[in-house]
């Protein structure tokens, strides 16, 4: 039987490769309005269906239940915690110095919600139903992205 093995790893060869991926994803018309209002006016925009009255957050151009148009309304951006999870590892599975709390936040005055970070609160103190409010970046540093909201904190 021919059972030759490679003993020296330097003898073993490989090919390296890289997959090029690059994309730009625009916010769309309603999303654009939301981010621009957040960036320039510190405002939170939702969209109310002209027919059924459902309030979408983040805003949509059309109601997904009866296809009628929506109108933009301003909301406070405050809300309450619907669900949360505590992350102790980062995305590369390295332990975090301080755990991060991710929460689904039901936004007041809307039927929608937002997933964001909770800070200025200990993981043990977070409760479902807890009232929270957003903390925004300095106006000069805002880019029109979801990270313009730094985190939510108890109100």
């Amino acid at each position: 039987m021919f059972n030759e093995k490679i003993i020296d790893p330097a003898e073993l060869r490989h090919w390296g490769g890289k997959i090029e991926l690059y994309w730009i994803y625009t916010s769309g018309e309603a999303g654009d309005r939301f981010f621009k209002a957040l960036k320039d006016e510190d405002k939170f925009i939702a969209a109310k269906c002209k027919k059924c009255g459902k309030v979408f957050f983040p805003p949509r151009m059309y109601c997904e239940f009866d296809f009628s148009e929506t109108e933009y309304v301003e909301v406070s951006g405050e809300g309450c915690v619907r669900a949360f999870t505590v992350a102790k590892l980062d995305k590369n599975e390295k332990p975090l110095e301080k755990p991060e709390i991710y929460a689904i936040i039901d936004i007041d005055g809307t039927d929608g919600c937002m997933i964001h970070l909770l800070r200025e609160v200990e993981p043990e103190e977070v409760q479902i139903g807890m009232k929270v409010k957003p903390v925004l970046k300095d106006k000069a540093e805002r880019e029109g992205k979801i990270t313009d909201i730094l985190y939510f904190k108890p109100s």
Binding site: L12, G16, T26, D32, G144
Partner: protein, 176 residues
């Protein structure tokens, strides 16, 4: 939600919002972008590792199965017909025969090439039937290439070789 016929009206067409590259460049619209760094390494395995290392020495190596008596090229560690490990390493010649070829006028990005590239499957002398590998032909005009043409490898100088198939620059026709 109720199912069935509903009183729904929707616009006959949704025209959309056309965007120009400049709208993105001038940040007229909000967007997110990403450029993930996705890398991989694919090991060559025992047989191809040795094949590549032998290329650096200017040699073509194959493996041999003593049961079906075939010379396997490019080499592999297992005979797929006899379903058993191969028995030995053997060198094959750096001459061969064009089995099939294709003339490419464009590069991998579909850009026109100044000079067309002739890609050929070359059956190497010393290896068994149906054993061949792909490479490029040189020192020959595309219209002069034919199936069955005898060719010989043109190697890079030894100091420039790096253990890659590109250590053979191209294959050129053998005169006569």
């Amino acid at each position: 939600m109720s199912v069935g016929k509903k009183d729904i009206s929707c616009p006959p067409e949704a025209p959309g919002t056309p965007l120009k590259d400049s709208d993105i460049a001038e940040k007229k619209v909000t967007y997110v972008e990403d450029h993930p760094d996705i890398r991989y390494a694919w090991t060559a395995g025992q047989a191809i590792s040795r094949f590549l290392n032998e290329l650096k020495k200017g040699k073509l190596i194959a493996t041999k199965c003593n049961k079906c008596r075939r010379i396997l090229f490019p080499p592999r560690m297992f005979c797929e017909l006899c379903y058993k490990p191969i028995d030995d390493w053997v060198y094959v010649k750096d001459t061969g025969t064009v089995q099939t070829f294709s003339i490419s006028y464009i590069d991998p990005d579909a850009k026109p090439l100044e000079k067309p590239v002739i890609v050929a499957v070359i059956a190497v002398d010393g290896a068994s039937k149906n054993m061949a590998f792909m490479h490029v032909l040189g020192e020959v005009e595309p219209e002069k290439v034919y199936i069955g043409m005898k060719v010989k490898a043109v190697w890079k100088p030894e100091e420039e070789r790096e253990g890659s198939v590109t250590d053979i620059k191209y294959w050129k026709p053998i005169e006569g």
